[in-house]
């Protein structure tokens, strides 16, 4: 009898241990996913912050450039650099066949004329002299240099030819291949060529969308929250508004995209693909988040504050506007920033309103067509070229960096400025 009891007790204790173990492993699994995730993104993305340059000697021959003696800056500006750029690439192997010459040309980006031109504009006295110029390597060579591209594949399965590899290895031996910080990733707009693609256009698109979103959502949401929390009579209609707000917070984001498409673009005829429409769509999405945050922080202001103000003869509106609302601002602001961070990561609604269009200019206002960072991730992830894989990861790193910054900022506001009532 006693033995049975002990057995039962032991099995109960074992069950207890097992249950705890399940709990621990659940948390472990969740954290493991997070770690794998972050590790994967960083390990594929960090190489994108380096860019491979080929240092090619370029002879600035006045004749090939069709320049007179003592050319003015305008002449240098207007000159045709294609021939000398081509010539300096062909000179890497003087006996190259026509096909091999084409391969040589493809070793650098199609920006090579512009890079040579810039060099000469910086220093016009170079005419007639030879100088080493940094030229952007093609994305395939860039990947080869970073070791992301398998070299042992048969030639017909690679995008880099054996000839290109041979020349490239020679250049490496001569120390003419250099890896530097990839500034163009941050300053160039999107491009079809992976080596020239940057996030400047989508970054500006994101900034404009978020600004439009902030300008629309913040005032409306704060005013609405003030009304619902401080002035609204308790009746069926305010209940209806509340149910509406809570539901909107859980409506799938793509439905807001359909709203943008069906109302903003089709009915109001706003310009497609612009951060203006994107921002309005996102503001409708963030509205409930900010309203809920603002109401919570209005609720947290103790009634004694209101009672004191009312006792001094302030009207209800004065009490609210002069005392309650300022005291609730830290909570509201941090809620707003968190809402904006959500909006910053949103993709689906922006795709539906056409912000997925290929934009190779940097937008200067919310009315110019643009993409946004998450949409840029989607566009690059869908394209087949190998060079874009690291760009996607790098873009994700930039986006995550911004989200972390925004959330930190929200935390700081909350902890630094929020008054603790107790």
């Amino acid at each position: 009898m006693n033995k049975n009891k002990e057995k039962l007790l032991n099995s109960r204790y074992r069950a207890e241990k097992r249950f705890q173990f399940y709990g621990k492993s659940a948390i472990f699994l969740a954290l493991l996913f997070l770690t794998i995730f972050i590790f994967k993104i960083f390990s594929t993305g960090y190489t994108a912050f380096q860019k491979t340059w080929l240092v090619i000697p370029v002879t600035f021959d006045a004749e090939t450039l069709y320049l007179d003696e003592n050319p003015s800056i305008e002449d240098i500006e207007d000159a045709d650099y294609f021939d000398i750029a081509l010539k300096s690439m062909f000179d890497l192997d003087k006996n190259a066949s026509e096909k091999q010459q084409n391969d040589l040309k493809k070793m650098v980006s199609y920006f090579f004329e512009r890079e040579i031109k810039k060099e000469l504009l910086n220093d016009p006295s170079l005419i007639g002299k030879t100088k080493d110029v940094y030229l952007t390597a093609s994305d395939d060579l860039d990947q080869v240099f970073k070791g992301n591209y398998p070299r042992d594949l048969p030639e017909n399965q690679r995008r880099v030819t054996d000839f290109q590899l041979k020349i490239f290895d020679q250049l490496v031996e001569q120390g003419r291949v250099e890896s530097k910080f990839n500034l163009s990733f941050f300053t160039y707009p999107d491009s079809r060529e992976a080596e020239l693609a940057g996030i400047a256009s989508s970054f500006m698109g994101s900034i404009f969308s978020i600004l439009v979103c902030l300008v629309i959502a913040f005032p409306v949401a704060v005013l609405a929250a003030i009304y619902l929390e401080e002035f609204a009579p308790k009746n069926k209609f305010t209940d209806f508004i509340e149910v509406n707000i809570n539901n909107l917070a859980a409506v799938p984001s793509i439905v807001f995209g359909l709203l943008g498409l069906g109302i903003l673009l089709a009915v109001f005829q706003l310009p497609r693909s612009t951060p203006l429409v994107g921002g309005i769509t996102l503001s409708l999405m963030t509205l409930p988040t900010i309203i809920i945050a603002c109401r919570a922080s209005l609720k947290a202001v103790p009634p004694s504050i209101r009672e004191a103000a009312l006792a001094m003869g302030a009207s209800r509106m004065q009490t609210t506007m002069h005392h309650t609302v300022p005291l609730s601002m830290p909570g509201t602001l941090s809620g707003t920033i968190i809402g904006l961070a959500q909006a910053l990561g949103e993709t689906a609604p922006l795709i539906l309103i056409g912000m997925v269009a290929f934009v190779n200019t940097i937008p200067g206002s919310p009315l110019d067509p643009a993409a946004s960072l998450p949409v840029q991730i989607y566009i690059w992830a869908e394209s087949a070229e190998r060079g874009f894989v690291e760009k996607v990861s790098a873009c994700i790193m930039v986006l995550l960096g911004f989200l972390i910054l925004m959330n930190l900022f929200a935390q700081i506001i909350r902890h630094k400025f929020e008054k603790k009532w107790s």
């Binding site: 097992r18 249950f19 659940a26 005013l223 003030i226 009304y227 799938p252 793509i254 689906a348």
Partner: protein
Amino acid sequence: MNLVIFIFIVLLGFTSYYFGRKKAYSIQATNTRLTALPQFYGYYLAIWCAIPAFIIYSLWAIFEPSIVKLIILSDYSNQGYLNDELNLIYEKTKSLSRGQFTGEITPYLETSAEKYLNLRSIAQNSKVVLILTIIIASIAYGYKRISSNKRTREPVEKFLNAVLFTASLAAVLTTVGIVFSLIFQTIDFFKVIPLFDFIFGTHWYPAKAFVRDASETLDPSMYSDTFGAVPIFAGTFFIAFIAMCVAIPIGLMSGIYLAEYASTRVRQYAKPLIEILAGIPTVVYGFFAALTVGPFLKDIGTAMGLEVSAESALAAGGVMGIMIIPFISSLSDDVITSVPQGLRDGSYAMGATKSETIKKVIFPAALPGIVGSILLGVSRAIGETMIVVMASGLAANLTLNPLESTSTITAQIVVILIGDQAFGDPKTQAAFALGMTLFLVTLCLNIFALRVVKKYREKYE
């Protein structure tokens, strides 16, 4: 020009605030008792100055284009043009007047363009005159009220209250906007495709409806058997099911552990770390699923002799599950912590172990709340877009094999609407009909879940 008027009104509003306040001070200087604080006189005058002008301004902006269009097109009214042709003529007129027209310029068009420019300048001038008159009249009225020391605080506060109320309608308006944007296209869609075919048809192949000449007339028989949404509904619920298979055990167990077992230190670090998973944008999950998880599962499958699609439902669903873990864990954590301590103490007093207490007492007590949180998770899984678009298939495939690819409602909406859309095309309308379905399903889930959670909270508060 519009911007100038706008700024002008705003500046005038600010100036009239100062005028109003100054007037109040001057009344005060005559030893008369003011009926409100001086700044209310300022607000009062500023509101009178700006608001009527803004109302006229926006009404004008809304109605001017359509009235101008009406006048221009009245010249063509009895020449038997179709509606679309008239619209085209109007567009041509507009671009000609801007000097951007490249097509053939007919004399008719030229007169229209001239008339258009003329009308626009008349409209512009009369707008300026009208707004100025309104401003002067309303300021004069407001100023008179102030001078006679009438009450100003009450009207100002009433006005503010009205503004606050209008702002609170924004949420309702958004909902109305969603319904409106979906409903017309959906109704048009069901005029062509019978509702029955949509709900019970088993072939979803919208591309077929698109392959046709623009000149061809719409033949409804062409669309039969192209818009059967069963494979998509099945795919949506299947992927959501896989996601919940990942999210419920992990989310629930970590929620229980955090609420019942974890020390404050572990809780302090683990909870925010898990919540990071909820803050990662979904497009990032999509990239992760498409680039890492999909090929990984494919490799494992090939090693085991199974045929696994690189865009398997398992990859999309699994990654979606990871995304939903934090929702379920933090919601169930909240729910479990709000179970009264008395229930626990009672169970411990009877000699139950901690896990027995959780399983037999706390879990049943918290069940409604947990069910609510799971339903919210399901609604999120159904509405999730980017993971499915990037990691799952785009062809609707009626299957229950997690290793094959399927498609979902959200993925189909994106596939159909990406790029240029032609409104009025059954394919575009189909996307809106799918959107309507998605909205209704998630709405029901949300309302039900929120109600359950709310009831539960009220029970223990």
